[in-house]
Symmetry: C2
Subunit: 250 residues, 2 copies
DNA sequence: CTAAGTAAGTTGGACAGTACAACTAAGTGT
DNA sequence: ACACTTAGTTGTACTGTCCAACTTACTTAG
């Protein structure tokens, strides 16, 4: 509650204690971001290669983008996350949600550290536009061909995937992975990629159209087959809770 | 990602940078807990009165239980939360879930600070057993008669209530507010108190019994009226997702 | 020019679970 | 004996998914 006297107080850590000092050891504070996009019909995550300077733990390993909070530049945690996301991808207004925090004495060899993890969704069109030199997209297949991650970032990544999948079951989150205009089958394929399973066509349509979160625009997408109606996200695309979970057709 | 050189690095914050020092300002790091219970058919939250020592912000105000992370005593954030919860309530193994983190330059007048917030559910029977002297239960009525809270704790509390209500819609969380043995109507009343609205009786029963998370025991509860079947939580009472949201009968 | 192929989108019946109201069951107090 | 209360059940209506079969529009092969 940010109001006690500090750990040194111990059992005497009570109102009216005399010590008001703040001269006790503080954990390292960082912010990490799990950035997802969809490329080539697969969910991808952005990782950065670490440096190998003196004192750098996990030299040359891959890690989630992030770093120390800069008390001079970052007004708050979300601003810090947005800054780091912009530095790596150039994206300035993605879907950004707090994922949780991980803190322990052992997760960073340099000392007690706590990280505030965020996760972001960006459309494929923005995924490569302004990528930093040390950043790279990795697919999240079932057989993980991802590199070993520094710190506890594998755990954080796994939590992010799980959060994403859970929310996709009953919200409109995948719409943030879509371009401006998209067809319903394209949206369905995005849901399927994120959930990693097939969905039933007519139930998906009924659901999406009755959920009042996308709206048709006066255009069709021409293709090799029958043209498809184009849709876009409604302005206030708040997460929508669906009545049931999806099931696969086969 | 806890691996960069520190805020001082700035634009030169790249792999291979030479500075490996950690001598930059670190935010204050705290853990706060929102502890809920049900007393007298109402949802209650535990608050503690702050001290008024020198340098203490928000003297004598109420705040969520919590305080600075003690890097010497706390192995990780959850352990820190459990310790603070035990100090205030004596409860050692409640339902404990991470709520999120709040960090900014301004939330604590002593400097840039970040708090890791948890929320806990404890049964009424444990709520008063070993309460700390400076702690007190407050009801969460519609017309909030709660005191003004220190820091941004009002915001954290509101987020906790919202999280609780959201999860209650589709999980078995309220079971953690119940004693060992309870009847179905008692469980329904707990759901109603948490959700702050009435539920439909037969749908509630169908749902709970088909969800495979409670089991009947070979006992009945005698009362002024017809006796009621007693149930208890099944061991692995993982959150259960329900097919639909509840509706009120009138 | 026609036929086969493909993907978009619709339709209709089976089914599951909630909404709601009316009912039965078992205890209490007068 | 009677009214009253709460536990628990039953039955009909309705909503939305599941699933398969269908129509529509366009492409390509022959």
């Amino acid at each position: 509650m940010a109001g006690r006297q500090g750990p040194g107080g111990g059992a005497g850590d009570r109102p009216g204690a005399k010590r008001a000092g703040l001269d006790f050891p503080r954990p390292l504070t960082t912010v990490d971001i799990v950035i997802f996009t969809i490329r080539l019909e697969a969910l991808h995550v952005l990782l950065v290669r670490r440096g190998h300077g003196e004192g750098e733990p996990f030299p040359d390993a891959f890690a989630l983008p992030g770093g120390f909070v800069d008390v001079a530049r970052d007004a708050d945690l979300a601003a810090c996350a947005r800054r780091k996301l912009a530095e790596k991808t150039g994206v300035v207004s993605p879907y950004l949600e707090q994922l949780g925090s991980w803190g322990s004495a052992t997760r960073d060899p340099r000392g007690w550290s706590a990280t505030h993890a965020y996760f972001a969704l960006i459309p494929a069109s923005a995924a490569d536009a302004a990528l930093a030199a040390d950043a790279q997209w990795f697919p999240l297949q079932d057989d993980n061909v991802k590199p070993k991650l520094a710190f506890d970032h594998a755990e954080i990544l796994q939590a992010a995937v799980q959060r994403l999948r859970n929310k996709v079951e009953y919200t409109s989150l995948p719409a943030y992975l879509m371009p401006e205009e998209f067809t319903l089958p394209e949206l369905q394929r995005t849901y399927e990629v994120v959930l990693d399973r097939l969905l039933e066509k007519s139930a998906f349509r009924t659901r999406m159209l009755s959920a009042d979160l996308i709206e048709p625009i006066a255009k069709m997408r021409k293709g090799p087959n029958r043209p498809a109606q184009l849709y876009r996200l409604k302005k206030k695309a708040a997460p929508v809770y669906f009545a049931r979970t999806f099931n696969a057709p086969e």
